[in-house]
Structure formats: structure tokens, C-alpha cells
Symmetry: C2
Subunit: 303 residues, 2 copies
């Protein structure tokens, strides 16, 4: 299971009480930070996320509302005495920005900070962990941008203890083989089929983050059938010309993508400050894709 | 009159609900921003300060807790359509940091942003406005740092309308000369002395900001008799060795400076997160300099 926690989901124009793009995805007892708008560490503290649970950071693009909170967070980790590695996946340029600030402050980053600089316009697998993997989703914005597709890997089968207890000869040493799908063979050669002894695991879950981008239907094959799609909807359809000009999407366009990709659920974000009532985004999208919700600071989506 | 508004007054280690160094000084219908720790634009909005009233920004030094909030603020001004000039006085290096971030975001700053890069180790007059002027106060920290001394200029004398009305021959055209201190000469040559027609103006006020710095008594002549001194007190005297090592001051040392400089009032700030009770800073300083107060987010000091 994954859990998405929204730290900020508004576009850049400053307002009180809302924060620019930032979110953490809880997966396998780790927090993955996706985008790092200003104030993200304030939000992390507010919602009581442990800083040290973050091992991987993904930055979509280098507009300030998606990364101005990062350098302060990295500094805080330093002051908090972090020792373990931190990996940042971001477009070329962020490394230079961060390193310049530490250099001018005459401060060493005293933990291993590893930058993975992105520049490809094709989807790439950029992280392959034991329990999940991350691919880029090439987006189209005013500057180079990627979305991120995070997929759990197949989980081991679950032991059906009720069935197993019927066979005293199955001892605990055999459990590993059962979990990976093998049948059990007794000493006299009888085969007890795996399906009798185990239950299917929960299907692996998937999450796709797409912000910022113009309406870009060629991402559909990449995000096909994901459990949750977060797609930017900076504008409503009434301002679709403005969306096109600024290379953003409308709520309707995000819903079109969700529908065509047959995702399970759509969450909209990156709302422009011109709209007072964000429910409008939901209403517009739901007319096309009913299972749509809107992001909000502090909201949690179980995947 | 000046008014000091504290936006943040804590040292860098992150905590909930407190902000790193940032403050605005209200003077002559202008807001002077002094230091710009992360989250300062959130604080500006919270306390309802108009962004456009800021024309001059002073950055003491390039440790992140004094400037990480700046680039987001500059971006917001851009999005809000600012047109008028903005002047930033900061150590060499900040211009490069800011310009790199706008360059990589492929974004133009669409208002005149003028950097005044500081590198001198002597006190300099860096701003001379109609009603006030600003000098640097060379500090000693782990990296190059300045405090700032902001002084109102002499104000015009105030018209004593009660006295003036006794002389019908004094018409409004003569008021300007009275304000600048000239006597009034009647048509028949009688001299009415200025002191009879005007009142002394309020004395010009002065404010000194000193953060971050080791105990540095050679600043005393520069800040002699100021109305308000904000001096960092990262530590209590019990940790004076740590203060020395990290080139910070203790509350007692700040009070020593205030006493020797014969300032009217001392405000302490830049508290380390190791202390739970910030009243201790006040108690320690007051034993040496009674008119001491401590800074707090949202607190306002009239000067």
C-alpha cells in the first residue's frame, strides 16, 4: 500500500495559507518527496513526517514553485546530523544551484548527497529498489519537465496458515519457498500445490505524478491503469487558451487523460490563484472522469 | 518614528512554528526588509505587510537562515507584476545565486532589481534617502557579515500654530522657511525669532541590527546611543565557549555591548533551539542591561 500526503498543491502566485507543489509518498516505510516548493519543511513538520525517512527526492522541473524549499530542507538535514545517503533526481541545473549556495555559505554538506541529473526526453527507469521502481514521464512545459511513475513490485504470496497447519510436515524453513510460489513436496514425494498453501498477495500499486504540463496525450501508454494519477489542472476549461499559452492543463484536459489512461482515480492540483472556489475543478473533471478528487494541503490519499 | 516588526528571530535548526531571521523596519511609509530567512513571505502575508512597500532589502550574510526566503519573495514580486525598482544590499555572492536560479528557470525578472554587493570590512554609508540613511556595521562571523545602522535624518521644525496666529502677517507661504529654522521678518523689518514660532521636531531615531556575530566591542562607537539595538544572542553565557567556537554571542555579551554603547533599548534574537525557555536570555541580559526585551515572531517594537 502507498499513501500520498499533500504538502502543497497550488501554483506559484503567493497567497496566505496555501503552499506551492510538494508532496510525500509513503511506500515501504520510506517517504519519497516529490517536488519541494517553498515552505515544504514547515509542512513536513506540521504533519509530523520524520525528515530522516526521506531517502529519495524527485523534482519535476526548475520553476521556483517546485524547488525553492529544497535548499532549506537540505540545510536542516545537515544541522540535524543526517548521516545516510540522500538521492535527488532533478533536471540538470539543480545541482549547480544547490552547490553554489553551500559553497558561498562556506558550508560542507556533511552527508552523502547524490544528484541524478535528468535531461532525457524519453521515459527512463531512474530508480530500482527492492520493493518499488520509479520511471520518468516526459512532460511538456515552458522548461524541461518530467512527471514520475512509482510502481510497487510484485509482492510475495501470503501464507495461508489455516491450510498449512493441516500439514505438520511443513516446517517454517519451507515458508520462503511457499512465498515465492513453489509447491511443497513431502518426504514421500507427494506434491502439495502452492495455491492450496498460500493466498495471492495484494496487487502492486502504482502512482503517477504529472505536473507541470500542457495537455499531452502521449503520456497515456506510460500511465495506463495506474491506481492514482495526480495531474496538474492550473486552469478551468474556460481559460483553455491561457492554459495552452502558459503550457498548463485544464481540469477537463486532466480528466481526459485520466479517462483515456483508464486510471483508477484522479487527483487534481496546481490550482491557479485566480479561482476562489476549487470545487469547480472537481465538478468540471467529474463530468468526464467521475472518480476525481482535488488536492488540498494536509489531505491524504490511500493508494 | 520607526517600527520594527519581527518576522523570524530563531537560528537555523528547524523547529515547528518559529522562523529564521527576518524583520521589517517601518520608516517613512516604507518597509525595509532586513534578512530574509525561509518562510519570510509567509510571515509578511500573515502580518499583512504590503509587499510593494518594500524598496530596500539588506542581507547580513550568506548563511541560509538569513536569505533562503529571498528568491521566493523576488519571484512572487514578479508574478504580482511589480514595476518599481528593488534594491538589495548583500555580500558578494547573492547576486550570482539569485541570477542563476532565474537563468535556469528561463525566467526574466521583469522589474528593476539592483544589487549592491558588499565586501568592505569598514563601515560604509550604503544608502542615503531623503529621510533616512543606512550604514554597514562590520561584524565577525564564520563568513563575511555586516550589521546595519539605520538613522532618520533631522526632521523639519514643527509649526507652533498658536504662536503663529498672533501674527496675521505670517501667511502660509512663509511656513517652509519657518520649518527649516529661519526667523520671520515683517515688512517693517521686525524680526520674529524662529523659536517663538516653531517647536523642536522629534529627535531623529536610530536602529542597529547586529546578527550574526561573535562578541565584537569595536562596533560600540558605531552604534553609540542608538534608540534600539537588535543583537544576536544565540547562546546563554553557560555556553560561551560554544558561542566563541561558532562565532556567535551570548545574551550577557549582547548586554555588555548595549551597556557600553549606551543604547536606549536592547532586543535579543537568533536563539538556538537548544533552549526551551527564551525568557532565560532576557533574565541573563537584564542583570547587565535592564532595558532588554526578547524578539518573537509577530512582535512589534516602536522606536
Amino acid at each position: 500500500m502507498m499513501k500520498l500526503h499533500i504538502l502543497g498543491c497550488h501554483s506559484a502566485t503567493p497567497r496566505s495559507l496555501v503552499f506551492p507543489s510538494s508532496q510525500v509518498l509513503e511506500i515501504d516505510n520510506e517517504l519519497i518527496l516529490i517536488d519541494a516548493g517553498e515552505g515544504m519543511q514547515i509542512q513536513l513538520r506540521k504533519y509530523k513526517h520524520k525528515f530522516n525517512k526521506i531517502k529519495h527526492i524527485f523534482i519535476s522541473h526548475l520553476h521556483g514553485d517546485h524547488f525553492f524549499g529544497l535548499v532549506g530542507f537540505l540545510s536542516s538535514l545537515r544541522l540535524l546530523g543526517r548521516e545516510k545517503e540522500l538521492h535527488i533526481f532533478a533536471p540538470v541545473g539543480l545541482k549547480e544551484i544547490i552547490e553554489l549556495q553551500f559553497k558561498i555559505a562556506q558550508t560542507d554538506i556533511n552527508y552523502p548527497l547524490i544528484f541524478h541529473e535528468l535531461s532525457s526526453h524519453d521515459s527512463q527507469n531512474i530508480l530500482d529498489e527492492k520493493k518499488f521502481k520509479v520511471d520518468t514521464i516526459p512532460l511538456k512545459h515552458r522548461i524541461y519537465a518530467n512527471g514520475f511513475l512509482i510502481r510497487e513490485k510484485e509482492k510475495p504470496r501470503k501464507l495461508n496458515m489455516e491450510s498449512i497447519q493441516k500439514y505438520p510436515e511443513i516446517e517454517t524453513w519451507a515458508y520462503h519457498n511457499l512465498k515465492v510460489g513453489k509447491d511443497f513436496v513431502t518426504e514421500n514425494g507427494t506434491i502439495i500445490p502452492n495455491v492450496e498453501l498460500t493466498l495471492a498477495p495484494l496487487p502492486p500499486k502504482s502512482y503517477a505524478y504529472c505536473s507541470d504540463t500542457i495537455y499531452k496525450p502521449d503520456i497515456i501508454p506510460l500511465i495506463k491503469n495506474v491506481d492514482l494519477l495526480y495531474h496538474e489542472a492550473t486552469f478551468l476549461e474556460e481559460h483553455k487558451e491561457l492554459a495552452k499559452k502558459t503550457k498548463h492543463s485544464t481540469a477537463k484536459q486532466a480528466a481526459d487523460i485520466a479517462k483515456q489512461a483508464e486510471v483508477k482515480k484522479l487527483v487534481l492540483g496546481h490550482f491557479s490563484s485566480r479561482y476562489k472556489d476549487e470545487e469547480q475543478f472537481k465538478i468540471e473533471a467529474q463530468s468526464i472522469f467521475p472518480n476525481t478528487d482535488i488536492a488540498k494541503e494536509g489531505k491524504v490519499f490511500e493508494i
